[in-house]
């Protein structure tokens, strides 16, 4: 386990120091520390209930930590409300897809462009030229994102009517609309067949390159993580039991035990 470095290195996008979260008597995340390098594809694995999603919630501010410090690009972000964290450029998807179901795919994406809007409410209401231009730009960018995930043809369909895999892709498009520097993907491959998983792997690599992203990824499917990620962290019962490149982690006895013991 890596000891927390005293000062965050400039190329570390996200750093967790001693993150801890207790629910009643249960410690869901226990003193977890790690750093994610710029441009890295960082995997987070572990058995069910290991605290992976809780860790995501801690990073995105949905759950306040019981203890620990979180740094984003060298600045402390612990205790910030989720929308503040999102505005800093940390975007996420959800394990149990949380799209705005009654709204169209396009609306879903445009909502996530919220922080990019500059036009005032009044200017937008009366459709002042600048506001209209901005609205058109946002719409075009949103359409481009839908194009990217292959949903441009169904931009006006209701999100809840999408197939499962399409909903996952729409969520990624929505997260990208935030123009993040750090993207958190919570089990993006869940429910996909091997073919789709392969496509997804390529897709994740390509968006990392295209948008210069750092990606933090929770995945149940270990081979996918091992093939995709630069480094992998393993959580078990809230503890960080291993951290390193995929080959190292794969041979770590503690990890093997955690998975076999499941």
């Amino acid at each position: 386990m890596t000891a927390p470095s005293p000062v965050a290195a400039p190329d570390i996008v996200l750093e967790a120091r001693g993150m801890t979260r207790r629910f009643g008597g249960l410690v869901a995340v226990d003193n977890v520390s790690f750093g994610v390098q710029r441009g890295e594809l960082f995997g987070l694995i572990g058995p069910n209930g290991a605290g992976k999603t809780t860790l995501f919630n801690l990073i995105t501010g949905l759950t306040p930590p019981s203890a620990g410090t979180l740094l984003h690009r060298g600045q402390v972000v612990t205790g910030l409300r989720p929308h503040r964290i999102a505005a800093r450029g940390i975007a996420r998807t959800f394990q149990n897809i949380r799209l705005f179901g009654e709204l169209s795919a396009l609306q879903n994406v445009m909502i996530a462009q919220h922080t990019q809007g500059r036009a005032g409410m009044f200017a937008s209401l009366v459709a002042a030229p600048a506001a209209r231009r901005e609205e058109r730009d946002l719409r075009e960018r949103a359409m481009a994102l839908l194009e990217l995930v292959g949903l441009a043809g169904r931009a006006n369909a209701k999100a809840r009517n999408f197939a499962y895999g399409d909903q996952r892709r729409l969520e990624i498009a929505r997260a990208l609309a935030l123009q993040p520097d750090l993207l958190l993907l919570d089990e993006p491959a869940a429910g996909m067949n091997p073919n789709e998983k392969a496509t997804l792997t390529d897709f994740i690599r390509s968006i990392r390159a295209q948008f210069g992203l750092t990606i933090l990824l929770i995945e149940h499917h270990v081979p996918l993580v091992m093939g995709l990620c630069d480094r992998v962290a393993v959580l078990d019962f809230g503890h960080l039991i291993a951290l390193g490149d995929p080959a190292q982690v794969q041979n770590n006895p503690a990890v093997i035990e955690a998975y076999l013991g499941e």
């Binding site: 995105t60 949905l62 409300r81 989720p82 929308h83 503040r84 999102a86 505005a87 975007a91 996420r92 959800f94 949380r98 799209l99 705005f100 179901g101 009654e102 709204l103 609306q107 445009m110 909502i111 996530a112 462009q113 919220h114 922080t115 809007g117 036009a119 409410m121 937008s124 209401l125 009366v126 459709a127 506001a131 609205e135 946002l138 929505r174 935030l178």
Partner: protein, 308 residues
Amino acid sequence: MGSFFNTYGFLLTSMVLAASLALSLYLPLMAGQLSLASPGFYALGGYIAAVLSTRYPAAGNTLFPLWRLLAEMLLAGLASGVLAVLVGVPALRLRGIYLALATIAFVEILRVLSLNLAITGGAVGIFGIPQPFSTQIGYLWIAGPLLLLSMLFTYRLERIRVGRAFVALREDELAADSMGISPTCYKVLAFTLGAVLAGVVGAISAHFLNTWNARQGTFDASISYLAFVLIGGSRTFVGPVVGGLVLTALPELLRALTGVSGLPPWLGQFLRDGRLIIYGALIAIGAVFFPQGLITPDLLSRWRKLQP
């Protein structure tokens, strides 16, 4: 036609005002906030107009100047807006039915206050409120544009960034929060917009009703406005408008029906004595058979497709 407007001028204007009040409830609901506070702001706006226009009556025996009515509406809107922010910031941490109950409490507290304060005229209230129009239908010149503007406002709102933020909060507050939308900020904004509209309508209503007292803006009103929104349809701004218009007209429609010639006497008798029984039954039936409300977005889009 003149006779029609004499008889129904008041009703037409009340329908329009009711539709605006329904919109004032719809605005916070757009952001997913079930607030029943509108009657409180409505009462506040009315008191502001009533106090100002009776304490400082217009010179001469002429109509109350229109610019003063507009100034009162502005002031009522401002005051309601400020109060809404003060109440909204703590109250909007509550969700769903809890928020509804807190806003009901707010309305009731305002009611008891207005019953006891000297400036609000206690139980009798304020009367002899000056008239800016010579007929009741004349109020449509101010209520009509207000409703149209509010509708236009809401229509545009649904298509801009702020409105999208509201809708996102309604659909999934957590996800919206994670997309950079501040729940507190936009909930309070939606709540305040509704409050401002209710306050403005109150200012008109005080003149329109000639009198204002603590019985305006009560719990009953809260529930009526909710019925306007839910029976009309809470998914598009057209719904509350239709709901407000229809449900306000309904009791008077039933009254008019008792006067239709050729009805068997027993039916006429029941229509008269049982007017409210029928009204209540229609509300229950409306809720049960139109659970999405009379007007739904799907219905609207189908209508749009029917257009050539």
